[in-house]
Amino acid sequence: MSLIAAEAVGKSYRSGAWLAAPEPKTVLRDVDLAIAPGECVGLLGRSGCGKSTLARLLLGLEKPDAGRITFRGRDIAGIGGEGRRDFRRAVQLVFQDSIGAVDPRHTVERTVGEPLRHLTDLDHLARKARVAELLMLVGLDRRDGEKLPGQMSGGQLQRVCIARALAPKPELIILDEAVSNLDLVLQLQILDLLSQLRRQLGTAFLFITHDLRLARRLCDRVLVMEEGRIVDAAKTVAGLHHPASRALAAAVLPALPTSP
């Protein structure tokens, strides 16, 4: 059974000027997506194609207008109480903007420990030990726990966000352009870290990006979105054939200098 699935999901937002009649803008139409345990799925597309909206729906942050999101076969809209907590624990996310994703007044230790406080029964000391373990896992130092976000670089902070996502031992992590703001050397380090975590912990990933190069390196299969629909799917980037996929492939920057 799939871990999480979107079934014929649709979503539209209302927008428009204050006094004008609101115009519904459809951002997702009839999207089907299923992620199996331990799988790494790449979700590709240009900005504004609906990738992030789909991620928000999968996380239960917003409700679909049509269709449903299921977690282990159950509609997440109907999950309450303890089941809700399990769902929250099982699905975590990492955003692109790591600086905006942490409270600037909280130390790294408090930031990483927060999901443990809410989603697990660990006591203070056990949490402290787990945070130290997580920091080491993502290649940070135990002493970094005392730092504030302002004292860390973008790459370090993104690792903090990944450590926080890993804290409650989730089964799926949604990475929404999680490495796009980092420089290439750091991007590569984070990708290697994710592959390693996957081997170690068997976590599934939904890797959202517009960069085919990154998907090629990490994902088991890739999906391409355009204007709110999934228009292409393949095992590898090379197997994509839709015009939207070709546009993405054509835009990939060259490996070596092209000028004469």
Binding site: R46, S47, G48, S153, G154, G155, N181, L182, D183, L184, V185, L186, Q187, L188, H210, D211, L212, R213, L214, R216, R217, A247, L248, A250, A251, V252, L253, P254, A255, L256, P257, T258, S259
Partner: protein, 261 residues
């Protein structure tokens, strides 16, 4: 042609706990007209600060200890450079625009600063917008930043640079916030302007793919210093310094082997 922007011995410093810390440590760089010079390095190496230092608009707390910026051998102050000899395109176009001014107001401001406001202002603005690859330039005149996408704003940024008729352009990570397809469009546009107007571009980036695509010469920066410089082909095929090797290796690792050979 053959104009040249030269930076000599640029040193920028801040103070931390009372002690001076040098962030850019004696940087020499030249940007020639009609070509793209790339300044690359890992984040935090001082690339962006260099770009601000050249134009003398450093953030508070950072001071210029030494350094001269010259155009065609004549030393220029920051005020003479900014917007007149050197136009700038930044990473985040949304924060580069005034949210309560229309695109037309921004363009008129640029023309006024360059002393070229006149009865034909609107015509020139439309021509620059069209040249920057904006569809329906007349409609865009009336738009405000919140009504436009990041890619459109970045094109308007470049159109403003065109309007200023500055011979040099500093582009600080101009494509980082855009998706790959838009990135390709913006790089195409910069290339076209270099070829057509003989613009001298200093392209600041961390993405070696952008360098491979657009640059002719490359300077690699690490910890506030240029550690290697050379022709773009040499940088990719025979990187000498460890920092360059790391950048090139990380970049090539993203490609399948058959493309790298």
């Amino acid at each position: 042609m053959g104009r040249m922007l030269t930076i000599e011995g640029l040193r920028l410093a801040t103070r931390r706990h009372g002690a001076p810390v040098e962030l850019v440590r004696g940087l020499d760089l030249s940007v020639s007209a009609g070509a793209v010079t790339a300044l690359v390095g890992a984040s935090g190496c001082g690339k962006s600060l260099t770009c601000l230092g050249i134009q003398d608009c450093l953030p508070s707390g950072v001071t210029r200890l030494a350094g001269r910026v010259a155009v065609d051998g004549q030393v220029k102050a920051g005020l003479e450079l900014r917007g007149r000899l050197v136009a700038t395109v930044m990473q985040n176009p949304r924060s580069a625009f005034n949210p309560v001014l229309s695109m037309r107001a921004h363009a008129l401001e640029t023309l006024k600063a360059a002393g070229r406001q006149g009865p034909d202002s609107d015509k020139r603005i439309l021509a620059a917008f069209a040249e920057a690859g904006l569809d329906e330039p007349a409609r865009i005149l009336a738009l405000y930043p919140f009504q436009m996408s990041g890619g459109m704003l970045q094109r308007v940024m470049i159109a403003l640079a065109l309007l200023s008729e500055a011979p040099f352009l500093i582009a600080d990570e101009p494509t980082t916030d855009l998706d790959l397809v838009l990135q390709a469009h913006v790089l195409d546009l910069i290339e076209r302007l270099v070829a057509r107007h003989g613009l001298g571009v200093l392209l600041i980036t961390h993405d070696m793919g952008v360098v491979a695509r657009a640059a002719r010469t490359v300077a690699v920066m690490e910890s506030g210093q240029i550690v290697e410089r050379g022709d773009v082909h040499d940088i990719f095929t025979e990187p000498r310094h460890a920092a360059t090797q790391a950048l090139v290796a990380a970049h090539l690792a993203l490609y399948p082997e058959e493309q790298v050979a």
